[in-house]
Amino acid sequence: MTLIALNNLTKKYGGVIANNDITFKVDKGEIHALLGENGAGKSTLVKMIYGLVQPDIGTMMLDGESFAPTDPRASRVRGIAMVFQHFSLFEALSVAENIALGMENPPKTDALSNQIRDVSLKYGLMLDPNRLVGNLSVGERQRVEIIRCLLQDPKLLIMDEPTSVLTPQEVDALFTTLRRLRDEGTSILYISHKLEEIRTLCNRATILRHGKVIGICIPKNETAKSMAEMMVGSKLKTPQKTITNFGLPLLIVKDLSLRSTDPFGTSLKDITFTIRAGEVMGVAGVAGNGQDELMLALSGEVLTKANSIQLEDNFIGQTGPVERRLQGLLTAPEERLGHAAAPEMNLSENTLISGFQRQKLGRRGFVNKLGAAAFAEKIIEKFDVRTISVGSAAKSLSGGNLQKFVMGREILQDPKVFIVNQPTWGVDAAAAAFIRQALLELALGGAGVLVISQDLDELMEISDTFTVISEGRLSAPRPIKGVTTETIGLLMGGSKEI
């Protein structure tokens, strides 16, 4: 039985075709995966189903009737619910208020709170309706979104990258809920690029590439590698890790504590670790457990006690970012546009952000334009950045290309210690592999590398030592060998000793 059928949907943004002649069906009571790289058109497609954008050409049928929603409310009325990748939640409002906002005719607050308790008991999604969303963990926030959807009795539940922020245990719990919903007759459209998950969860998968449907497969009968190659359209090579002996300690962090100024941020508590020459240390953890604060403290954007951070022989806790860079500590923050790079400025100008002093791209306050352009050219060539010229604005680059540029800008400055937060977030598979390889080569050359990431597979692939940040505390670093997914999951959940 078909629940929703999409016929020849096409959507253009200006001259760019986001969706080109998309046709596929989701059956009743099935979990259907939508697979594709970033920019393959998955988001646009689900936005059309959810009524956020309207197709230029093509029609949709829901339950055998014509379906052309003009806004999300029209979709919700017809039984479509969506859990967003970046949660559409309001931090300063309570759980019940957040849920009420997503409903058409919410009951009175007390009745709604009771309904929330009922649903959360039924599906094992524990949640207190009166808490502020800002104080919830990421996993709990997702429960808010899911309960909001479930209270509407949806026929089709759309989930956009639901597991990217969850611990392995939370993922298991989510899958149990989803299977139960499927057995009750709800269809689920599941968007993800985590192929192993799709193999265990989904009945069928539709694969998109460059806005077109490339094929439909049954994930159980495929391997993760074969599906990845369908997504990318070419063979993939994985980075090669060579075993190295570590050299002298480069960065010593001891009892680093920092109070967060963000009301919903996480304060750092007694962070202690050492990075040696040639070592890649991976920091795992669910988002919002102090990663941002750790990054700010290490980069020098927020100062700490002088002796809590030591770079080689110098205490640098009270040293600003410029001086830290000159001493050889380089960083690449998570947010590419706006933090690592200035969106409106061109690539040549963007080299000045971190390279002005260390690369001597200027003198007496004047900018050496030729030098900056030459450095940008070098980055573009060495890191295979696809762009028209060094004069292109940073925001005109795709996520993967800009990330390669940012990585190149720091790595080519020959850091002693390189700290990076989410190096491959939202980056396509080929660029991600390239960036990981570059990080490994940097360590091979004798630098110390700290990688903060929420992608466990990535950390398993490139780290030598491994640690988990949870509620602002860092677990004791341990060699990556012998670390299992289960251990990591427990550490991410906040267990102290394993």
Binding site: K47, P72, S88, L89, E91, A92, E97, L101, P263
Partner: protein, 307 residues
């Protein structure tokens, strides 16, 4: 020195009312995520338009209604600039203030020196005759009670109604509100116009009751104080009353001290209310974590639907 506490308290309430009205409007505007720095301009436009209407119709009530309409009309200019043309809110707000000051001077040059019709006191069944309580609480004109009633209504609206919840949601995270299908721009325009109407009435209260006559630039920074009081109140309606009456109190106290020949240069005394505001703001914002907890998270950010 001869200062009567009772008359001090009674006049304090009158001095605070224009600011309270304007601040209540601005609270709603800021709760929707818009920072309108044009309060001063909207107040003075309200002051002159209300004054002209009241003088020509001989009715203070019509004066206040016209003032509200004029303030809302001027704020609509700001709304179009910032919500449709995506202009910077700070610059547009400042421009609105300058424009309002200039336009009001132009409109009002034939109206200085005229007395407006007087606003009658509310009748509270003779309770105005009560000692102490009477003159303080029961001997005012209608707008004083209206301003407090308005704070009550805003509190009820924000706390208990669905409309208030949607408004807070838009101010908290406009992208999420848009994703849920709420009309961010329409909600914000309505909020801005409500703010303009309140500021207009506040201005008219100055020219029709508090002073009462028209002089150029007569708002004298009251709009800025109203903006400061919204921050002082941490965006909570009831605290607006506290902030406005505190400011009104200092204003009246310094006037009384001046009148009694208190031995201090006049400029220091007239400075006092503004100094107090600055000091209170500094204290309020000293704890950054707590200050940002109450502020609407999308305040002053430009919304552009990307999908």
């Amino acid at each position: 020195m001869d200062i009567s506490i009772v008359s001090l308290l009674a006049t304090l309430i009158v001095a605070a009312t224009p600011i309270l009205l304007a601040a209540t409007g601005e609270l709603i505007v800021e709760k929707s995520g818009v920072l309108n720095l044009g309060v001063e301009g909207m107040m003075i436009i309200g002051a002159i338009c209300g004054f002209i209407a009241a003088v020509n119709t001989d009715s203070p009530l019509i004066g206040f209604i016209v003032a509200a309409l004029a303030g809302a009309a001027l704020s609509l200019l700001f709304a179009v600039l910032t919500q449709y043309l995506l202009a910077n809110q700070v610059a547009s707000g400042l421009a609105l203030t300058l424009f309002g000051l200039g336009l009001s001077a132009l409109l009002g040059h034939r109206y200085s020196g005229i007395r407006p019709p007087s606003s009658p006191k509310m009748e509270w069944f003779g309770m105005a005759e009560l000692p102490v309580v009477g003159p303080i609480f029961f001997n005012h004109d209608m707008m004083v009670y209206f301003s407090i009633f308005l704070v009550l209504m805003v509190w009820v609206f924000l706390k208990f109604t669905r409309g208030g919840l949607v408004l807070r949601a838009v101010g908290e995270n406009h992208d999420a509100a848009h994703a849920l299908g709420y009309k961010v721009i329409r909600i914000r325009i309505l909020a801005i116009m409500f703010g303009g109407a309140c500021a207009g009435m506040g201005g008219a209260y100055l020219s029709l009751v508090r002073v009462p006559q028209w002089t150029e630039g007569m708002t004298a920074g009251a709009g800025w104080i109203a903006l400061a009081i919204v921050v002082f109140a941490s965006w909570k309606p009831w605290r607006l009353i506290l902030g406005a009456y505190l400011f009104g109190g200092v204003t009246i106290l310094q006037l009384n001290l001046q009148a009694n020949g208190f031995d201090m240069p006049v400029s220091y005394l007239s400075m006092a209310p503004y100094l107090v505001t600055i000091v209170v703001l500094v204290i309020m914002s000293s704890d950054r974590t707590r200050a940002s907890l109450n502020a609407p998270a999308s305040l002053g950010k430009i919304f552009h639907a990307s999908s």
